[in-house]
C-alpha cells in the first residue's frame, strides 16, 4: 500500500506546530500502525544524511511518538488518527491498529492528544503527568489491607468485584480527554474512583477521594463533563460512563455531607 501521511510536528509546547506531509510506499496491510511510523522514521533519518533536526528549515528528523508495550496494555501510545483517538477500530489502542484498516492511496492525518492539560513535548508526544497528579491526590487506598489471606477473608459480592475490575481496566492513556470536546478527564477519574468504591477497602475513604480527585482534575485544566458519551465510544478498554454517574453521586453526596 502507498499512503500519504499528514503528521503534526512541533518543537515544544512554546513553539507553534504544523502539519508536514510525508509519503510512505510498499506498506504491507499486516504492518501495524506504529511499525509503519517506524518505517517512515527510518526513511526520514536516511534522507537527512546527518543534518541536524531544524524546525525552522522544515521539520526533519524522525517523528517522535510515545509507545512502550506495543500490545495494548501500558497506556503510552496515544495517536489521534483521522480524527479518532487510537484510530478507526474500536476497543483497541494505537499499537493494536494495523494497516489493513486503511486503503491503498489513503491520506492519514496523525495528531497528538489535544488538551490544555497535556502540553506537547515534541511532535506527537504529550506530557501526561497531569494524570499522575490526579492519582496522587486520591486515587489510592491508604488503609493497610493486610496480606492476601486478609483480603480473601472479606466476602465481596461477585457483581461488585466484576464492576470494580471493569473500571480497573483503565490504562490511563488519555484517549477520553483527547476525544472529549470539553477536554474532560471525568472518565479517567471515574474509572479510578469506581474501581475503589466498589470494594470495601476503598469505600472507607470514598468521600475524601471523590472530592480530592475532582478538585485536582479541575485545577489541572481539564474541562467539565456534558455527557456526550464520546469518551466511552473511544476508550480502548471500553470503560463505561456508568462510572461517571457513580462519581457524580459520590462527589455530590460527599459535598452534601460537608
Amino acid at each position: 500500500m502507498n499512503l500519504t501521511l499528514k503528521v503534526w510536528r512541533q518543537k515544544d509546547a512554546k513553539t507553534p506546530g504544523a502539519f508536514e506531509t510525508y509519503k510512505v510506499e510498499g506498506i504491507s496491510p499486516d504492518t501495524s500502525f506504529l511499525e509503519m511510523l517506524d518505517i517512515l522514521n527510518n526513511k526520514l533519518i536516511h534522507e537527512d544524511g546527518g543534518a541536524p533536526v531544524d524546525f525552522n528549515k522544515g521539520c526533519r528528523g524522525p517523528v517522535a511518538f510515545d509507545h512502550d508495550c506495543r500490545e495494548g496494555i501500558c497506556g503510552m501510545c496515544s495517536l489521534f488518527i483521522n480524527g479518532e483517538a487510537h484510530g478507526p477500530d474500536s476497543e483497541i489502542t494505537t499499537c493494536q491498529l494495523h494497516m489493513r484498516k486503511f486503503k491503498d492511496g489513503d491520506t492519514i492525518t496523525i495528531e497528538p492528544w489535544r488538551s490544555a492539560a497535556f502540553p506537547v513535548i515534541r511532535d506527537l508526544v504529550v506530557e501526561r503527568q497531569a494524570f499522575d497528579k490526579i492519582l496522587q491526590a486520591g486515587g489510592f487506598v491508604s488503609v493497610n489491607t493486610g496480606g492476601v489471606p486478609d483480603a480473601n477473608a472479606i466476602p465481596i459480592p461477585r457483581d461488585d468485584a466484576e464492576e470494580s475490575m471493569d473500571a480497573a481496566a483503565c490504562i490511563g492513556c488519555g484517549a477520553c480527554v483527547a476525544t472529549c470536546k470539553n477536554g474532560s478527564a471525568m472518565l479517567f477519574v471515574a474509572a479510578r474512583v469506581s474501581s475503589l468504591a466498589k470494594l470495601p477497602q476503598g469505600r472507607v475513604e470514598g468521600a475524601r477521594r471523590a472530592k480530592a480527585m475532582v478538585a485536582r482534575m479541575d485545577e489541572l485544566g481539564f474541562g467539565n463533563c456534558t455527557n456526550t458519551q464520546a469518551c466511552q465510544m473511544e476508550c480502548p478498554k471500553g470503560i463505561s460512563i456508568a462510572h461517571i454517574a457513580r462519581l457524580n453521586r459520590e462527589f455530590l453526596s460527599a459535598k452534601f455531607r460537608d
Partner: protein, 99 residues
C-alpha cells in the same frame, strides 16, 4: 553510530542509543564474568571444562561463589567481589541427567 537530533532536547534516538550502550556494556561484563569462571556449572558451559560424556565439569572447590562486579569508571576494568556459598545440609554434586 549515527544518532539524529540534538543532545539536551527530547530525543528518542538518543534514548535508543543509550539502551544500545547499556546492552553492549552488559554483554561485555557477562563475557568477562564467564571467562573468569573456569568450570562449567548449570547454564554456564565452557567447552574446555566438560566430562567425557559432554556434561558440565564442575569445580565446586574453587568456584562455589556468586560473583558481583563493581564499576570502576569508564576506562577501568570492573573489580570482582565474591559472595561465598556455604552449603550446610544439601551439598552440590556432579549430576548426570542422561540415565
Amino acid at each position: 553510530m549515527y544518532v539524529p537530533g540534538e543532545n539536551g532536547e527530547f530525543n528518542q534516538e538518543v534514548e535508543k542509543a543509550l539502551r544500545l550502550v547499556d546492552f553492549l556494556e552488559l554483554g561485555e561484563l557477562m563475557a568477562r564474568d564467564a571467562l573468569n569462571r573456569n568450570e562449567s556449572c548449570g547454564g554456564h558451559f565452557r567447552v574446555e571444562y566438560q566430562t567425557p560424556e559432554g556434561e558440565a565439569l564442575r569445580d565446586d572447590k574453587n568456584y562455589a561463589y556468586v560473583a558481583v562486579w563493581e564499576y570502576k569508571g569508564e576506562d577501568h576494568a570492573p573489580v570482582m567481589h565474591k559472595e561465598e556459598l556455604h552449603f550446610e545440609v544439601a551439598h552440590p554434586a556432579q549430576r548426570n541427567y542422561k540415565d
